[in-house]
């Protein structure tokens, strides 16, 4: 008997039990849909996050105070640490300490809200240097100007606001020259940023920028920094610069043992590998959950195949009388279960791709970036292979049982 005949027989018998076939494959459809969503959204999220990091610039090194966080709870420790001070910045600026340094900018984060004429809004408030925005992120003022070194030296009460902040506080009217209040202190708006959305890790539209010295002295009352951003001369020199930074800061802090560091550096490369590790672990975890759902689906298939074999006992007897061998019967039922699960897999792939597309639109909306959806071919191939495999594994036992049925007993079966 040709293999084509087996396929034909299997197709005919699945067609004659349409509703049952559809209900049976539901478990597989859901399982494969989940695989597709997990893999595809995981990939899309990874691409988007990596894109963000890419936006941060390969030359950028971020120095943070405290111990390197090993988990989410360590981040608070980093924000509370006061190890990065002005004298560290001065030391890093020395070209004999860090020769490949192109630019350096300390930063502080100010918690709180801004208000103007009764309107209050809570943006992200940074004490920073404005030159960094221009040099590193290509963000330029839309109206007015950015503050400069002078403003930082004189601790001027000036602010640059993002497009969304401007809209929230001023609506359509002009913002330049107006005084906004942060923690009851007046800041004169000297510049606004055109709508840009996400740049690097920040939503520029939602930012208020102050000179870091002003924020340190008048708003926070601290003499240290939350973060220091260093630009290397080019991306090739990042690693060498990190080594120089570590050496300089250890000298400044009198640290001999690197494990006792009270600061750490973050580079694009490091973040990429970290995020890949996190997403990889998440994907594995979700895949295990999906695998369990597929096993459940497979048991459903096995169950219905047993029912089908019993129900069609006479058919099996008849087929044997008409010349079917045990092998023919085995392959017929095996083909049926593989066909069932493969059809389920195909439907799951299409559904999964659909949901993943919708999901990627959601992610894009949430992160304010363009939709970065790609049909996950590898997930589709995996899904189809897995579904066929489930059919094979869970179909073999019922099919064996069918093939072993005695022809006469089967023909007598009521």
């Amino acid at each position: 008997m040709q293999a084509g005949n087996t396929l034909k027989i299997a197709l005919i018998s699945l067609q004659t039990n349409k509703l049952r076939s559809v209900l049976t494959i539901l478990g597989i459809v859901i399982g494969i849909t989940s695989i597709m969503i997990v893999m595809s959204v995981g990939k899309t999220a990874e691409n988007m996050i990596l894109g963000e990091i890419g936006g941060m610039g390969a030359e950028m090194i971020v120095i943070r105070p405290g111990k390197e966080p090993k988990g989410p709870t360590d981040i608070a420790g980093s924000l509370l640490s006061n190890s990065l001070k002005t004298r560290d910045i001065e030391a890093l600026k020395q070209s004999n300490n860090v020769p490949y340094l192109e630019d350096i900018a300390p930063a502080v984060i100010v918690p709180g809200s801004v208000s103007y004429a009764g309107e209050t809004y809570t943006p992200v408030i940074f004490g920073w240097t404005a030159s960094l925005m221009e040099n590193m992120f290509n963000v330029y003022p839309d109206e007015g100007v950015f503050f400069d070194e002078n403003d930082i030296k004189q601790k001027s009460n000036v602010a640059i606001i993002g497009a969304k902040v401007k809209n929230e506080l001023f609506g359509g009217s002009d913002a330049i020259g107006k005084n906004i209040k942060i923690k009851n202190k007046n800041f004169k708006v000297i510049g606004t940023i055109a709508p840009r959305g996400q740049v690097g890790f920040f939503n520029v539209d939602d930012m208020v920028l102050l000179p870091y010295s002003t924020a340190q002295t008048y708003l926070l009352g601290i003499d240290y920094y939350h973060e220091v951003i260093v630009m290397a001369q080019n991306s090739e020199l990042v690693q060498a610069t990190v080594v120089d930074i570590n050496k300089t800061l250890r000298e400044m802090h009198n640290i001999a043992d690197p494990s006792k560091d009270d600061f750490f550096t973050v580079t694009q490369e490091g973040m990429v590998s970290q995020i890949k590790t996190i997403i990889g672990a998440l994907t594995i975890f979700l895949s295990v959950v999906v695998a369990i759902s597929l096993v459940v689906g497979g048991i459903g298939i096995m169950n219905i195949m047993f029912v089908s074999v019993t129900e069609r006992t006479r058919e099996i007897g008849l087929r044997k009388a008409l010349g079917a061998t045990n092998k023919n019967i085995l392959f017929q039922f095996l083909m049926e279960s593989v066909l069932l699960t493969s059809i389920g897999g195909l439907v799951g792939i299409l559904l999964g791709a659909g949901f993943a597309y919708i999901g990627s639109i959601g992610i894009a909306k949430a992160m304010g970036t363009g939709v970065a959806f790609r049909f996950p071919v590898s997930a589709a191939i995996l899904g189809l292979a897995v579904s066929a495999f489930v059919g094979l594994v869970f179909g073999i036992y019922p099919a064996k049982k069918a093939s072993k049925k005695d022809a006469i007993e089967a023909l007598r079966f009521e």
């Binding site: 040709q2 027989i9 005919i12 004659t16 007897g317 008409l322 006469i408």
Partner: protein, 232 residues
């Protein structure tokens, strides 16, 4: 050489360690082109004999030669192949696949043959025509009368042009008139197309269509007689 040679055939079934004899030494020869009716009360062993003759079961003792080759020399695969190519089966309860139209039902044996799929349709249509069911070709068994269902089953048994057709109470589920029309088909198959036929029945009127009547009782042949039919 006879088509079928049976010598002292015995069959015992053991259910829960209890041995039930079904055949207790049956001997008979069947020549090609014969039309034989096996009659006997229920439980006499006639179905068991038919199953063994039809390669669906193996004897416990004794010898069964089909085309001169003893059944012990056939592997399971070869038995299946002989059933497919050289034997046709007609059952009391028709055994048609539900929700599958007449054409596909009749094609069933072809799926286990080496015949190319291109010829399936024309072969099935020819077989359906020969039992006078051309107008029902696309119908499902549920839309057919009992007689039409049995004619479909006969078409299915004929499609491979087998040497021998076994029919197990083919008219048992039909009224007398319909039964007669089915027997008319069997008569034609034997007289005109020279198919060897073995029919099991418990009705004397049906048995009288045959050339030879074998009466079985308690697993033994009680008598084996020729009728005058072949002279007609």
């Amino acid at each position: 050489m006879p088509l079928i040679e049976v010598n002292n055939l015995k069959k015992r079934y053991s259910i829960d360690d209890l041995e039930t004899p079904a055949l207790q030494g049956v001997s008979l020869d069947v020549e090609e082109g014969e039309f034989i009716a096996i009659i006997g009360p229920s439980g006499s062993g006639k179905s068991t004999l038919l199953h063994i003759l039809g390669f669906l079961d193996r004897p416990t003792e004794g010898e069964y030669k089909f085309e001169g080759k003893t059944i012990d020399d056939y592997s399971e695969e070869e038995l299946a192949s002989v059933r497919n190519k050289k034997m046709g089966f007609v059952f009391q309860s028709f055994n048609l696949l539900p929700r599958t139209n007449i054409l596909e039902n009749v094609k069933l044996p072809l799926m286990y043959s080496d015949i190319s799929e291109k010829e399936w349709n024309s072969m099935a249509i020819k077989a359906i025509e020969s039992v006078g069911l051309s107008h029902r070709i696309g119908h499902d068994p549920s839309q057919l009368s009992g007689g039409e269902r049995q004619r479909t089953a006969i078409a299915r048994a004929l499609i491979m042009n087998p040497q021998i057709i076994f029919a197990d109470e083919p008219t048992g589920n039909l009224d007398t008139k319909t039964g007669d029309s089915i027997m008319a088909i069997f008569d034609k198959l034997n007289r005109e197309e020279k198919h060897t036929l073995i029919i099991i029945t418990h009705e004397k009127e049906i048995a009288e269509h045959a050339d030879r009547i074998i009466h079985i009782k308690d697993g033994k042949i009680e008598y084996d007689i020729s009728t005058n039919n072949h002279k007609k």
